[in-house]
Symmetry: C2
Subunit: 308 residues, 2 copies
């Protein structure tokens, strides 16, 4: 059953590990946020794409949810000795991915081509598409000034108030080849439990993608990344608050209401179901906390069941 | 006393560690071969410059004479897993140098600028100049076809017969800023015990450098890299044979006779001194085998003494 998943990083990757267990991976197309992509030391780094690939390949560091398990940081330490900033943790084995990607991009391949080659080399059978082959940079306007996403997220650990979010370059970006087609052809579309602003919102900023979702013939479901008033991971709760939305699945549903048919919230938030339905969409609850491999599979099964 | 050293890799680096002990490093200008420079995975690698810097900084792997002591190879192993060739041993900490250099070159710095910054960052006080800021590639015509230097040297371990050596790009290359001035201003010039073809010969291929040496007011001495009919390291002996020269310091002296005033050979080759003098240059012997730190200092002292 042709399935599209809109994806950020860790939360989406964990959901996908369950999903590939309960359906044929070859039927899954992931559309990944690339607004966090950054150059470090001239190397092109795609945090969300890499997190999805490493996680599905069973190589991810389970403690952090990103990076490679058991990696070392000798090159980074040496770069620091050479006078470079080294706040973004790039492991030695991880660096191979970025060196390889940068080499292929400089040879003229597109990010789509490199991403698919990387996924295949890592043994994955699903399709991973970047949202765009053009550069889009998520920039946060904060009390500490304008910060590219990784500086906000990693260097400042999102402990600065945000007043606005920009997606620089998105006005000139086109959806990557296959993105609009995948959405139009999908029998079901799942918005992963990712940040509604800086993961999913970034994907939606690429001209044509929001409209494609609104017009999609397939059913669109979203899994809330907010549980019990808090983000499972990262700055989603803080951003909802700072940008004037309810810090709950309701806030997420408000952001998604033009294109989501079914909002899936955690059982802890069941009391919000009537409020979400009042926005004109279906709503249901599930066990969304992916605390074990089994919980990921159970969530994937529940989501597919609820979408029927 | 203003001193210029023409330098290849390991042999020159070892000689320089002695030289900086017996004279003020700030009076030394190294002119380094860059014909071995190669791109691996899009990273710009300067084997000879790095060998000199790592050796003088006390960081070199003493077993190989190149690379960093105690380095690991996790990124390289991962690049191999991604389908890359991995015959050129780039360690994890070593990679930081190449990532950093590539970043600065792409930002528009010249190789001279990057090299000097690297030397300073590693705490060195001498000046290291690449022979040219323009790309020159040493290519060997062999029985296995045309091979760039590192393929010949590392991949084939120089076990293929060479019929000719080309320095591609040298006709369009200019000496790096300061190279001709350093030669003209030097009170003494030392040709390190490096390969006369693919280290020193490459430097001489850059238009203007050979002539500057021939016209240099300072005394020019060369240390033979051939001892007792064999190269101390690498393919020098084999190349002398294949290209029709005596496999001895005499063959080296024949290659250098237009610009060298004094040929320094190992004591094992003292019998050759009259033959070398017959070429119209001075000749003397010294203990050239740098088998210990003390031997390096002793050789440097002897060379300076002989040049008086």
């Amino acid at each position: 059953m042709a399935t599209v998943v809109l994806s950020g990083g860790v939360g989406a990757a964990r959901f996908l590990t369950g999903l590939v267990e309960v359906m044929d991976p070859r039927d899954i197309t992931v559309i990944s946020n690339t607004g966090d992509d950054s150059e470090f030391y001239g190397l092109y780094v795609c945090p969300d794409i890499d997190t999805v690939i490493y996680t599905l390949a069973g190589m991810v560091n389970p403690k952090t949810g990103w990076g490679l398990v058991g990696d070392s940081f000798r090159a980074l330490t040496e770069l620091e000795a050479l006078g470079c900033e080294a706040w973004f943790q790039l492991g030695d084995r991880d660096l191979a991915t970025h060196i390889w990607r940068t080499m292929l991009l400089r040879q003229g391949r597109t990010l789509s081509q490199v991403t698919q080659q990387l996924a295949q080399t890592r043994g994955l059978r699903l399709t991973i598409l970047p949202m765009s082959d053009h550069p889009v940079q998520t920039v946060l306007e904060t009390e500490a000034g304008r910060l590219p996403f990784q500086e906000y997220m990693v260097k400042h650990r999102f402990q600065v108030a945000v007043s606005n979010i920009c997606f620089e370059g998105s006005d000139k970006a086109l959806p990557a080849p296959g993105v609009l087609e995948a959405i139009a052809d999908a029998e079901q579309i799942i918005i992963a439990p990712s940040n509604p602003y800086v993961s999913i919102g970034t994907i939606l900023s690429v001209p044509g993608i929001r409209k494609a979702l609104e017009n999609a013939p397939g059913k669109v479901a979203a899994i809330s990344p907010i549980v019990g008033g808090n983000a499972v991971k990262g700055p989603a709760a803080r951003l909802l608050c700072e940008l004037g939305r309810p810090v709950s699945p309701l806030g997420v549903a408000q952001l998604y209401h033009s294109f989501v048919d079914l909002m899936i919230v955690d059982e802890a938030d069941s009391a919000l179901l009537p409020h979400i339905k009042a926005l004109g969409m279906e709503a249901a609850s599930a066990q969304t906390m992916m605390t074990s491999p089994q919980a990921k599979v159970t969530l994937a099964k529940q989501v597919l069941e609820l979408m029927k």
